[in-house]
Symmetry: C2
């Protein structure tokens, strides 16, 4: 199935067709396609766009059409859109809101994007403690017709907007209508502070199996709610950041095809250059063993094999520990358990890889005598070096995330390439030291 080309746009694509080719359309083509959708389809389409695309589309629309689209969005989504819009457009867009919404939006804009306040929706269902269940349901019916988006939980507040209790909608619904809210509300409330990081908020919600969590400020006044659907995005975002860091770069912070070429290059070149500078130590280490190589060139043949095995086992171990830390399966205090386990894993993996390396040389030699009369000693050197390098790589990879976290850095910076670079220099030193011990008097 070939996607319709932009010239097919004239008769008007369906929302599904438009969604399908969205990524490859220019800004003008997007606006044209969007304006040809029937109004209800266009609304659904607009809601489902990422904030970045919403902003781009809105800015490209004629100014008299912008207001109605902007006002459709709940305040937390409007804030995301504003944060994605070009700085010079932001003030103009803000002016399009009615007064109460502008206040809400301005309050939310004060928070960082990745903290609870930046995620929350300031519109939630609220009640006074002295209402009855029946009054509460009637009151909520009116609220539901208005601006409240999520009514999974109902929050009970005092006059100072401080959170007293919470009732799930389902409970409210199944209770005796004459009971008072005060009697049925839960007072052991799980809440988060407005300056809490989004990863913590996400963990609180999933650990307790909540649909939404209330956000309170330093004076325990309720400011909004963060709902499960916000959390799905947070989880994806945090996983993307980690996976990109593990791959050896700064997190991009936006979809791959949306990031400008120059800024993507900057985020990749920084780490690669740093790694290259680190890797230059291998040239220094190799220069240190230049005499050995000159005397037994055969030693040079196994350099890539040996250092890459260290790098591979190290990147495996670091990836495992980084992810386990992100999921809180492993914490700082588990250091010694992890170290013991990885020492065992490193030794076992080193034995396996060492044996394979040993066999490679012995079997090869049987067919084509490449390695000379001392091939057995060479095979032993490769075995012992692989054992040492893999064990060292595994230990370095598993412990580096602990060190980084302890120092206050993101453990995900212990990327595969970073660990590999660290291990390469040591791998060379291990290899040539083993070689000079085992081959002295024969090859060396």
């Amino acid at each position: 199935m070939t996607p319709p080309t932009p010239t097919d746009l004239n008769p008007g694509l369906s929302a599904d067709e438009l969604r399908d080719i969205w990524m490859i359309l220019s800004a003008e083509e997007r606006v044209d396609g969007f304006r040809l959708l029937p109004r209800t389809d266009a609304e659904d389409f607009f809601f489902e766009l990422a904030a970045h695309d919403q902003a781009q589309l809105l800015v490209a629309l004629p100014s008299h059409e912008r207001r109605s689209w902007l006002r459709l969005l709940p305040p937390d989504d409007a804030v995301d859109l504003l944060q994605e819009a070009p700085a010079e457009e932001r003030e103009r867009l803000l002016a399009l809101f009615d007064e109460p919404s502008r206040k809400e939006v301005n309050a939310l804009l004060a928070y960082a994007e990745d903290e609870a306040g930046g995620l929350m929706n300031p519109r939630f269902a609220r009640l006074r403690p002295d209402a009855t269940v029946d009054e509460a349901i009637g009151y909520l019916r009116r609220q539901a017709r208005g601006r409240i988006e999520t009514i999974y939980y109902v929050y009970v507040l005092d006059e100072q907007q401080r959170l007293l209790g919470v009732v799930s909608f389902r409970e409210l619904f199944s209770m005796d209508p004459t009971q008072s809210i005060r009697d049925i509300m839960h007072t052991d409330i799980i809440s988060v502070r407005d300056d809490e990081h989004q990863e913590t908020v996400s963990r609180v919600i999933s650990q307790h199996g909540l649909q939404a969590v209330p956000v309170i400020d330093a004076e325990r006044r309720m400011k909004g709610i963060v709902t499960l659907d916000d959390i799905v995005d947070v989880v994806q975002e945090e996983a993307t950041e980690d996976i990109q860091k593990v791959g050896g770069m700064e997190a991009l912070g936006a979809p791959y095809l949306n990031v400008a070429f120059g800024s993507m290059l900057k985020k990749r070149a920084g780490w690669l250059s740093a790694l290259l500078l680190g890797e230059m130590l291998t040239a220094t280490a190799m220069a240190f063993f230049e005499d050995e190589i000159a005397r037994a060139v055969v030693l040079a043949l196994f350099v890539p094999l040996i250092i890459s095995s260290g790098g591979n086992s190290g990147s495996q171990a670091s990836t495992l520990v980084i992810r386990a830390m992100a999921l809180e399966e492993v914490r700082l205090r588990d250091l010694w358990r992890v170290a013991r386990r990885e020492l065992g894993a490193g030794l076992a993996l080193g034995m396996i890889l060492g044996a394979l390396g040993f066999l490679r040389i012995v079997i090869w030699q049987a067919f084509t005598p490449t390695y000379g009369e001392h091939y057995m000693l060479l095979a032993l050197t490769v075995f012992a070096s692989l054992l040492g390098v893999v064990t060292f790589g595994t230990m370095t990879g598993s412990l580096l995330p602990f060190v980084l976290r302890r120092l206050g850095f993101d453990p995900a910076s212990a990327s595969a390439p970073f660990v590999a670079t660290l291990v390469d220099v040591t791998g060379l030193v291990i290899y040539f030291t083993v070689a000079s011990l085992l081959l002295r008097g024969t090859l060396l």
Copy 2:
């Protein structure tokens, strides 16, 4: 703060304290701690445990206590628990359910864990189309007192249980009580098939901003719902799988500290051995250039530097593309866009790293004359090789996930170590070819 030791358990820990030291307790200590909790705390605690831990705890409890805990769980969670329980216990646990629940659980057990049917909850709020809003609310009030867990949406079914429409609870709540459900229900329903993979289900839910999605079978009969909270777990799980594959191993499928040492070793050793076998080609390639190395040992010094730069740039590119594919930001048909972009990125990164490599040799030489009279030619060789290797690495890394997906494999298998290994051999060939072109007649 040191965590309480197991001997502190006697007076009875609070739920929070128990949660905090759970990971380091033995099976017996967990049972003891759990049984000392007050009943309501114990219930919350049990709900919040992962299925694996629930199963372990349940099997360790005296048999007369098991029934009440098992029956507390909604059927989808009970199924997760059963799947985590030892095979020989499963039948015995199944016998503890009442007849209707056992039927539900058995139906769910027929599905694979990672498909929509294996995720869904078979208990959802249902209505006939001819009810009025008022009747519907009354009926739902009775359902809410019973076994229905989630009542965010209400599903309208015909006599054959086929899905006719859907009404959100909020809409139902804000409508005129005398209207008929048929008139207010939405008939453009987004649903998923029961055999759909969980990643697709997760994408449908987040793309459309749903709270839950109905699951239907091949005859369009409604079987259950998958809710947002299931999706949070799916997203975490899939991200963990991808991140572990990117790190160069089989996905563990369970928390790091819960996986038995032997099975973890198997999942790591397989890939490491395969990578080692691939890396053995470097020894063959190096042997091919043995004469060049013997004549100019200085060439060997830069082997680690050059091949690791190829590996690093390749693993960066593959990680970026793998993640973009997982988030559907990039699809198969974007191959040429990605290839053009990465060719540009590869050339630019290659120029940067090449220039750094060049400067390293020239500056070093100014202080300590390590590289002999032809250092300028050597620096040029390193520059050109880095340019070639980084460009090739970037292209390989970015295109390999496309190739893997096209062949029906998981693109995440294009792990950092896999790409590095692929690039190492080619890197050596590029380096020594450039060297023999530039250094013929001088060093070679």
